[in-house]
Symmetry: C2
């Protein structure tokens, strides 16, 4: 039996990044309305101040703050109304001492004014004057020119996964389309004589294929696209044909299955034979996830991933090693983790990063994590969970009450 020369998750990620390099950073330009969830491939500088002029946040009168000094309920300040700002138009006048100008919410502040008195604190007085019953300080009830984003500053930076407000901010800067990373094309193959695609009748000794669905789903949740998804029996010629075909039109080929020693050896050998320079990772210091094979073919520019056969392990390895390496390459922020306290002692396999699925419970004292323990062949341990924790390799266990970081399932 060949002994695995196991790698840490971090080392394997680094090798993935070094192997695929810029070949995996293709970009495309998409209209803003299609940009939600996409990853910015460049910083987007703001070409002008947003907003481009100082705006009122209230219906009221644009004034020189100084002119309202000392004004109150009993001693109003009297100002001459010299005009009215129309929405969406330049202010028609400039304000001189003792003057004011009506301005609606969102309207442009006239030159000379430096604050707005809410209409509720004023009263008409005579033909073209108002009484102001409230003193305002400079800047009151205003959004200043450039207060949202200043000209030349980036609206957003490379690696931002665009959310609703990010798309809104790009619109505020007049952006109509943005450079984003192309989704990577991923082929998913599940190997095993025991596997039956859902929809076909199940013969004795067979099970329905889980892995192509779970693996494809995880890849899609990061915005990648699936080029093909198939079940292949344990025959070398069939697997070679499937791999070669997938390598033609995909950036990444994920093969899962082969948990028995003979099948693991075959997967490793085939990935190595079909790729140049070939396998760079065989075995991870990770539980579950040890029987992982990673290789790169620089000719077809394909990353070849031999994922573990157990579905839970396949999903963890795909996310923690492959997808996280690609996220780092694209400059995405590290995934936000949730802090929780463990509800029980659990033992770890020291020397490995141990993954435990947990169900989270919100309580008055914060979040409690309940581990959902079970064999890595049981997909139900993941469906019942909200996320998972990955232990430090030097940990021998997690104590009850210990604060842990939980990565949420997507």
């Amino acid at each position: 039996m060949e002994l695995f020369d196991v790698q840490t998750i971090e080392d394997a990620q680094r090798e993935v990044i070094q192997s695929v390099g810029k070949a995996f950073l293709r970009t495309e330009q998409v209209p803003l309305n299609d940009a939600l969830g996409r990853v910015l491939a460049e910083d987007i500088p703001c070409a002008f101040d947003v907003p481009g002029f100082t705006r009122s946040t209230m219906d009221g009168y644009a004034v020189r703050a100084k002119d309202t000094q000392g004004a109150g309920e009993s001693i109003p300040a009297f100002l001459t109304v010299v005009g009215e700002v129309e929405m969406g138009k330049a202010a028609p006048v400039a304000i001189r001492p003792g003057e004011c100008c009506y301005v609606p919410t969102g309207g442009m502040l006239p030159e000379g004014a430096d604050a707005v008195v809410q209409v509720e604190y004023s009263e008409p007085f005579g033909k073209n004057k108002i009484a102001v019953y409230h003193a305002v300080s400079t800047g009151r009830n205003l959004i200043l020119k450039g207060e949202d984003t200043k000209a030349g500053e980036p609206v957003l930076t490379r690696g931002t996964v665009l959310r609703a407000q990010d798309v809104g901010a790009l619109a505020s800067a007049g952006v109509t389309d943005v450079p984003v990373y192309e989704p990577l094309r991923i082929a998913v193959i599940s190997t095993g004589d025991e596997l039956t695609p859902p929809g076909e009748p199940l013969q004795p000794g067979k099970i329905y294929d889980i892995n192509t669905y779970a693996v494809a789903g995880m890849a899609k949740s990061y915005g990648h696209v699936i080029t093909s998804q198939q079940v292949v029996p344990d025959r070398e010629d069939r697997l070679v044909a499937a791999l070669k075909s997938a390598m033609k039109d995909s950036d990444i080929v994920c093969v899962s299955g082969g948990s028995s020693q003979g099948k693991k050896d075959m997967t490793k050998r085939l990935i190595d034979e079909l790729s140049d320079p070939g396998v760079f990772t065989h075995g991870l210091a990770m539980k579950p996830g040890k029987p992982t094979i990673l290789g790169y073919d620089s000719v077809s520019k394909t990353l070849l991933c031999g994922l573990p056969g157990h579905p839970v392990a396949a999903v963890y390895v795909l996310e923690l090693v492959v997808l996280d390496a690609l996220n780092e390459l694209q400059g995405r922020d590290a995934p936000l983790t949730v802090y929780a306290r463990m509800d029980q002692n659990i033992g770890c396999d020291a020397g490995k990063s141990n993954c435990f699925a947990v169900k989270l419970e919100e309580t008055e004292e914060g979040c409690i994590a309940h581990p959902v323990l079970g064999k890595s062949g049981l997909i139900s341990t993941m469906t019942e969970s909200d996320g998972y924790l990955v232990t430090d390799r030097n940990k021998e266990g997690i104590k009850q009450g210990e604060l842990i970081k939980v990565r949420l399932f997507r």
Copy 2:
């Protein structure tokens, strides 16, 4: 000036749910490969045990555990090998006392066996015998029939937003397509003479439209579809035409804009005139978000939402009131919140649900929330943030160090 009869967020949600009712719960059947992120419209029962037979989790020998009792490094147990299980086939033999059968990882356990001895703990002995150097207990190295999901139990329940592992679990149960809720069709209108669609040159006094992009993005992040997205000037005839047209082919029409009193009044009046029974919410006990109008038209079955003009307020109201009401109607789980400690004292407007955008920082002691304060007209306060907190209405402030729940931006 009309005084708002403000409603709480919860009351407004309840009114939305009562108004739209089952008209908004249309379902459709989608293939499993298109189901990621969709919301299950029914419980999905498992028609059979998963797995359908007891499987080995190791390469080894299926044995009767009793036959290995007392076996160890120095005193092996000797068993007769009576066969070999092939992957994906029924076990060829039954095991009687003193017998064993080779079984690969994932293979079917033969009748009579109740545990598996790993091949590493065995040694060939003579022609058809093995020496076993390790005692195993009943159930060792097995996944039992039905251990993942038992026949008749639900694989997943109504309201589940399908993640990668959920799609995998459905595949394991042989499911090929699933009933999910149809996305709701949402029209987005931004009103204002000051608004210019990105791509057009910006005249003095004008700003680029943010709201249709941010509002459409938030709706899409929950899986809904946008039927139309447009900017309309402050003219009653234009707004009426846009609303009428949107009501024809949409379930929800979101109009944002109109922060000045006159425009707010017009939005409320038009929503009321165009719908029957009409406006049920005018004003929310929420900051920002007070100037919100909600109405329902039972003829066209359209929910009409007058969202605040400030983009930050529009996004909060859309998510907390409208989308959360729809989520509850569909039976989705409440959104998972992150616990964090506030880094400073902040004051609240008591009597209202105050929303504060926060940036989260991970530290050794847990998560710290830094509020990103700013006027609700500044979309950058949201782009810089990871999520937001919504205070209880009776709160007058949050103290430094207080544990808060943060809802993550999507």
